[in-house]
Symmetry: none
Subunit: 244 residues, 2 copies
DNA sequence: AAGTGGTCTAGACCACCGT
DNA sequence: CGGTGGTCTAGACCACTTT
């Protein structure tokens, strides 16, 4: 954790705690620099980080103003359905519907960068929030993870957390593609809705710290259960729109 | 024009001119600082600006690499349906279905931070890509923008660009919430699909540089037409998942 | 006039990458 | 190991806003 990240984190917490109201202003950069006992440049780095998340806005000659008190919870929660649910004060659940090893399809071999036909593990899970089942998840795990995943219990609530704690494997990067689809007949059966009713689909490829592909997933949520939120600024953005 | 903007502009031009190939690397920050006869910090400021546009990426310990020779990536495209379509080589179209001023509802007054009941402008548009109508867009503009929007022609392809070029008003930040919904009867009629068929919904609040709210939008896309992509890393992410 | 954010300088040390 | 980007410092001057 760098110093400017620490300062940003502290300011972010103080803002969401209501120490500074929306529309109000922060102490000046000079005063913040004195308070944190750091150079002004370091404080500015932290402020710009929060501005890129839409939490703050600077008005030249006037000050830094609070634009939003919302915490933009980031990647840590996005990685894991269970960890996200817990931070929201909800109880996540999960059950494995099916689990099978199979030789990688050409598309999977490409996604996992395999030379030869190796075995991948395909797991279908149903996920619930506070007892209500809201999502079905079809995950394909890369060959190097198969044994680890297979060793986990079927009702393991957080696979991501288990991988991290037991094997030290951390998800460091993920690409998400979000769109809407009509429920297939399998979706309909798993989620208890009519066929061709709307679902929010999130396709995901995730990678370990060393860049190795870990898993590809296809999650389908009932409408009205979750939404994905993105804050984007001129300064920096990770979101883009693609033709599909 | 500041110095770092001038350097960014010059580098951007040299990259677009093919002086550095895609995947290739730039001279080191140290060498660039000597070349431009500026401090390294100033050169870094320029490089970070280009990185935020998706033109460059930095690899620590290794160098700055050319990611794309195209201008206008990320947020710039996200701000505007039309500008995004153009960078993808597609022809955007748009037509206004209805346009009406009304007094702000309580929810709108909150979103736009109005004290009194002022007039907002609600516009419904249909958007097309290469002649195919794929999206309906319901936008509510803040009172201070109403006169400017009203002065634009109904078939103005890019409202965002028009606001920028004619009035100097730039969208600097936006929050997006993405989920799936069933088509309402109005959606069905506008888009030519069956009622309750799946649509991808993107709700948006956008803000000017000074933090003033500009517009709130509700865009609904036909499935299979576009997807939203998010790249997120441990280091930084703007995406989050919310209960809805 | 005083205070604020925006930019710039000229150093320094660190973590990381390649050889 | 030397070179690279990432961070940080302690100043300086400017443009802008507020009083």
């Amino acid at each position: 954790m760098t110093i400017f990240q620490t300062i940003a984190y502290d300011l972010s917490r103080r803002i969401s705690d209501g120490e500074f109201p929306i529309g109000g202003s922060l102490p000046s950069e000079h005063q913040l620099a004195i308070h944190y006992e750091r150079a002004r440049g370091t404080v500015r780095h932290a402020l710009n980080l929060l501005a890129s998340r839409g939490m703050l806005v600077a008005r030249q000659g006037s000050g830094w103003f609070i634009q939003s008190t919302l915490q933009q919870h980031g990647f840590t929660q996005l990685r894991s359905f269970a960890q996200w649910a817990l931070t929201k004060g909800m109880k996540p659940s999960g059950r494995v519907v099916s689990s099978a090893t199979m030789t990688a399809s050409p598309a999977q071999a490409r996604a996992f960068r395999l030379d030869t036909l190796q075995s991948v593990l395909r797991v279908v899970r149903i996920r619930g929030l506070d007892g209500r089942e809201i999502m079905c998840e079809r995950t394909v795990y890369a060959p190097w993870l198969v044994d680890m995943i297979a060793s986990l219990p079927g009702d393991e609530v957080s696979v991501v957390q288990a991988l991290e704690e037991r094997f030290g494997i951390v998800t460091a990067h993920a690409d998400h593609s979000i769109d809407a689809v009509a429920a297939s007949s399998e979706d309909a059966r798993l989620l208890g809705v009519r066929r061709s009713s709307p679902l929010l689909r999130v396709r995901r490829h995730s990678f370990a710290k060393d860049g190795r592909p870990m898993e590809s997933g296809d999650d389908r949520y009932l409408p009205g259960s979750v939404a994905f939120e993105v804050a984007s600024s001129l300064a920096s953005s990770t979101l883009s729109r693609t033709i599909s």
